[in-house]
Symmetry: C2
Subunit: 191 residues, 2 copies
DNA sequence: CAGTTATTTCAGTAATTACTGAAATAACGA
DNA sequence: TCGTTATTTCAGTAATTACTGAAATAACTG
């Protein structure tokens, strides 16, 4: 049913299985995996043959992948069929994934929270709930602000930032030590 | 069916709807939301009444929330019923969420990739696929390394790191400028 | 225009996932 | 021990989601 090199097949099957955890379905996951490892763009019929699924399923799944911006449509000269690939650059893929997941999984919640926080509570229970929602809201806002910030970075800067991760921490720790030293010194001065 | 303060109800219903996008189901989402905004721990029967769902559904959903470590089990003196809450600290919730999603959504892929990368390709197609999988693998490894790094941070350090986000970037840019100035100076020296 | 090929749509069905009620288990007190 | 209350399990069913085949649309060619 699925006639692929074994190594590719493992990959495709894994993406299919993971599909449900990623919030996409099996077919969408498999098609993405197939396109990702394919040396050149594939058309719908090739996908049908590779995965052993119906033509209409391929059509719908490709549409979904396009909605996610995870797939590129290509055309060959003198061939009116659609061919599909994924972007070459994995960092670009990461960016797209982050953006789309944010759009689907975070933004709606943020806007619901904002809306609820506008209303005035009519009881103690509602007052408490609003406080909790406020905490959630500001956490998400902090995270999205950071994200908006770092998503602008070009690939190599982003990579640097990642490898730095720990060291920035170290820096902060060092700074804290100095500050607290300064504080204890001043405290001593007072006493 | 669902008798809650309107403000709480909006929140609970939203979490229910989002459930599917988060990879949990409606009931699990609703229960989590309810516990999150509730001023004190709730027992199963209270959840049944608040959400209008069956006792067995509550039992299964709480079990799933516990598997995610998103819910705390409490006991009141002289009461053998189980009461449930969410942790107070939203940052702690974030950490848990990140850890669990990584465990479920990233780690399995990483290990499949590693396994496939060990095998030797039997064709050009497999060779190409392996290169692509290698790219994906090292991207994920970079991300998880960064994550392992920052997840150790205490809350206020993590917050600092987030607000810093942009500024670290600025710093990197400044560094780059200085380096490139140095380079062009040296280039000029040569000419 | 009619004929051909590529793609999409969609009603019906298959497969999966969520939920319930009833029965089983467990943990206690009398 | 038996009775009571809390919780879990699980087979059956409801609800949702995924997939297919057939028909419709679209885009081209001679």
């Amino acid at each position: 049913m699925m006639n692929l090199p074994p190594l590719v097949q493992s990959f495709v099957l894994h993406f299919g299985e993971m599909g449900s955890r990623w919030g996409i379905n099996r077919t969408v996951g498999q098609i993405y995996a197939l396109l990702y490892v394919s040396p050149e763009p594939l058309n719908a019929e090739q996908i049908v043959e590779s995965l052993g699924i119906s033509r209409s399923n391929v059509s719908m799944s490709l549409r979904e992948l396009q909605a996610w911006n995870l797939v590129l449509l290509k055309h060959l000269p003198d061939d009116r069929r659609d061919f599909f690939t994924t972007p070459d650059d994995v960092w670009q893929i990461l960016r797209t994934l982050a953006e789309e997941r944010k759009k689907r999984e975070v933004d709606p919640t943020l806007s619901v929270l904002r809306e609820i926080l506008m209303q005035k509570p009519a009881s103690d229970a509602e007052r408490h709930a609003q406080v909790r929602m406020g905490e959630m809201h500001s956490l998400i806002e902090q995270l999205t602000t950071w994200y908006e910030d770092v998503k602008q970075l070009e690939t190599d800067r982003l990579a640097t930032l990642l490898t730095l991760g720990a060291k920035v921490t170290k820096l902060l720790e060092a700074k804290d030590k100095i500050v607290s030293l300064g504080r204890s010194k001043r405290t001593n001065d007072k006493g």
